[in-house]
Assembly symmetry: C2
């Protein structure tokens, strides 16, 4: 005999982003590659305070095993914040705390996907969602997407002609990688179609609270009368990612199953981290904190868009996101983002080629730019260098 | 259409222990049910200190995304502690930090098991390992076990007559649920057989450091010349479980795959929790801390064994564990542990019926007793009540 791995292991590969991130650790690098929040905005002093406070108040209970569902006061705080923001109507029993929203994506694959089942997603879509689902050996179908979201006619065509569609994965607010936001009309039409077909939807919303301008839109979940939408979010972009605290907000029939999956997967999320975030929400003005993140990222978005407008030639297009962390660049056909990256790395500039964001297709002339992790002057300088290399190609 | 779950979801059920634990929250309850460490031994004051210290020294970096493999200094500290203790020869690159050892079990199922593959385990075995593996739809085969560990002749018979054995799961030190420890001779014979068959082994060792008496035995991994053994452990029983920090120590060819699985599952384990444990190991005398846990649990083990000897009739047998958290009781045939539990709950005494620890068989006349979470006088009183109810049956 010899050691053999499960079939699913053949499908797993190292995330391109994490590989690029290893290269971009060097301090001289101007990196637009990661999706890293700005660490200078992390509430370090406040975290010192709440860490001590939690241990003073809860003592050893904060260090003991706790329930799979999560710390009840935190689940309540999440539900209470979500409802006015997203027009949802969830209560604490609809919330499961997860180890980051990545875990919520993994669990969604585990809950819904047999090998060969079909997942629909935007085209392009978030690459770590592709990785999470891929472990359950589905087929991906990319639904064509425009500036307003999934194109509903295309979605309907796929639903009519495709068997075994078990899950639809969407990022309606400031999408990763494109920075696009679905219009209200598109959300409504989408939900109408989904209600007819009764297919579970994972609405991934890590960036929704980071809106720089314009009016917040109701979550797709808020338009869902049949309890089909599983809303997934995280404190990674509004608080800090290092604690690994995310959540799922869904109908009880789903939460019940997610809890069973979480029991087998890791019992529960860190007792003390949950209490720390809960205590922070109790003691500090979280909305003001998010306001500071928004102000910083808005300036960085502005710096990036200005630099792109200034340096890129007219045949290169890009989005102007109203929030979130990313914009998306489309170059003329024939220019390969992977080649551009190799040359840019020599100039100490990094980004992520668009390829990784398409589960099936090979789209070589796109790339994703992150602006949340670099100060404005570096953004300007980085885009100048990038444009120079691009013009040489 | 209607919402359908993946096939694996049908196999998931709520852990009996977690259900019993809900009932045992009441303060008047004498619970031998959970596997909870004694919270009065958690290093609460030290945790306050290291939480602040980590944020002072690492600042926002402690709150940022970090590598999937884990915090390098902690991986080094784990390797350095493991090698003299278990006679292993691992280095930091062999270590992956996981969110508790439960996650290591889940990942092991994900890495090795296709639907229908066979997992061999001790009989009985740890019920949360059964839950973790079950999500990957294997068949379980229970290898008959005596006081020295798996019976090698039985193991060989199964290997000769069974196709698709992909993974062997063992708990050689102070096993959950029985409290048994494999003898050195059994470890050596086991490893000789496994070397011939070249089947991956998960050696789960959460309790090995909690030895009350007798000499420590080398890990099965230390006898492994072909890199087949995946050693899994945790800080849950020696430090505290609420932080959810465990690890896998394995050959690079396995670690590489586990890292890919972890990327898709939750990106990485909490940056700050890893740094906190690492800082604790740097600043405090962890061995002295473990010494205090051992002293406490030894007294509790003694209290329980004395009470069992005093109160139980001669036809009821139980183990005298040399370490760990549990002992295992076997009653005469015909007495049902589930019925005993129902009556005991009315007397405010709880334990876990043995059934849940057998993946295939129905063994009604056994149960598991935990002694780590109750003070000695409650242990004595609880066992008295339990024996009284048992004698009535």
């Amino acid at each position: 005999m010899a050691v053999t791995f499960a079939d699913r292991v053949e499908l797993l590969k190292a995330s391109d982003i994490r590989e690029i991130l290893k290269i971009t650790q060097r301090p001289e690098m101007i990196s637009f590659a990661g999706g890293l929040p700005a660490p200078e905005l992390f509430p370090v002093e406040e975290m010192k305070h709440v860490a001590v406070k939690v241990l003073e108040e809860a003592g050893s209970q904060a260090l003991q095993y706790s329930t799979t569902e999560g710390f009840e006061p935190l689940r309540r705080q999440i539900a209470t914040r979500m409802n006015p923001k997203y027009k949802t109507a969830v209560n604490p029993s609809n919330i499961l705390i997860t180890s980051g929203s990545q875990q919520a994506l993994d669990f969604s694959g585990k809950l819904f996907l047999n090998s060969g089942d079909v997942v629909l997603c935007e085209s392009p879509t978030y690459l770590a969602a592709i990785s999470a689902f891929r472990a359950y050996q589905p087929q991906f179908m990319e639904v064509p997407t425009d500036d307003d979201g999934m194109i509903i006619e295309e979605l309907e065509k796929i639903l009519r002609t495709t068997a075994r569609v078990k899950l639809i994965y969407i990022i309606p607010d400031f999408q990763n990688p494109t920075g696009r936001t679905w219009s209200l009309a598109r959300r409504q039409r989408f939900m109408k179609v989904i209600s007819d077909w009764e297919i579970p939807v994972v609405e991934d919303n890590p960036y929704g609270e980071l809106r720089f301008e314009g009016e917040s839109l109701p979550a797709v979940k808020s338009l869902d009368s049949k309890g089909l939408v599983i809303f997934v979010s995280t404190f990674s972009k509004t608080f800090c990612p290092g604690l690994r605290i995310g959540w799922i907000a869904a109908d009880a029939r789903f939460i019940e199953k997610y809890v069973l999956i979480k029991q087998g997967a890791d019992l529960h999320t860190s007792s003390i981290s949950q209490r720390e975030i809960s205590k922070y929400l109790e003691l500090y003005d979280f909305e003001a904190h998010i306001g500071r993140i928004i102000d910083t990222y808005r300036s960085r978005r502005n710096a990036m868009i200005s630099a792109l407008e200034e340096s890129f030639s007219a045949d290169v297009t890009f989005n102007r996101p109203q929030g979130g962390l990313f914009t998306w660049v489309q170059m003329p056909r024939g220019i390969k983002a992977a080649e551009l990256l190799q040359r840019c790395l020599q100039q100490n500039v990094a980004f992520v080629p668009g390829d990784s964001f398409f589960p099936n297709r090979c789209v070589e002339n796109t790339f994703r730019l992150n602006y949340s992790n670099m100060p404005e002057e570096k953004i300007a300088e980085g885009i100048r260098r990038l444009a120079k290399v691009m013009n040489e190609l």
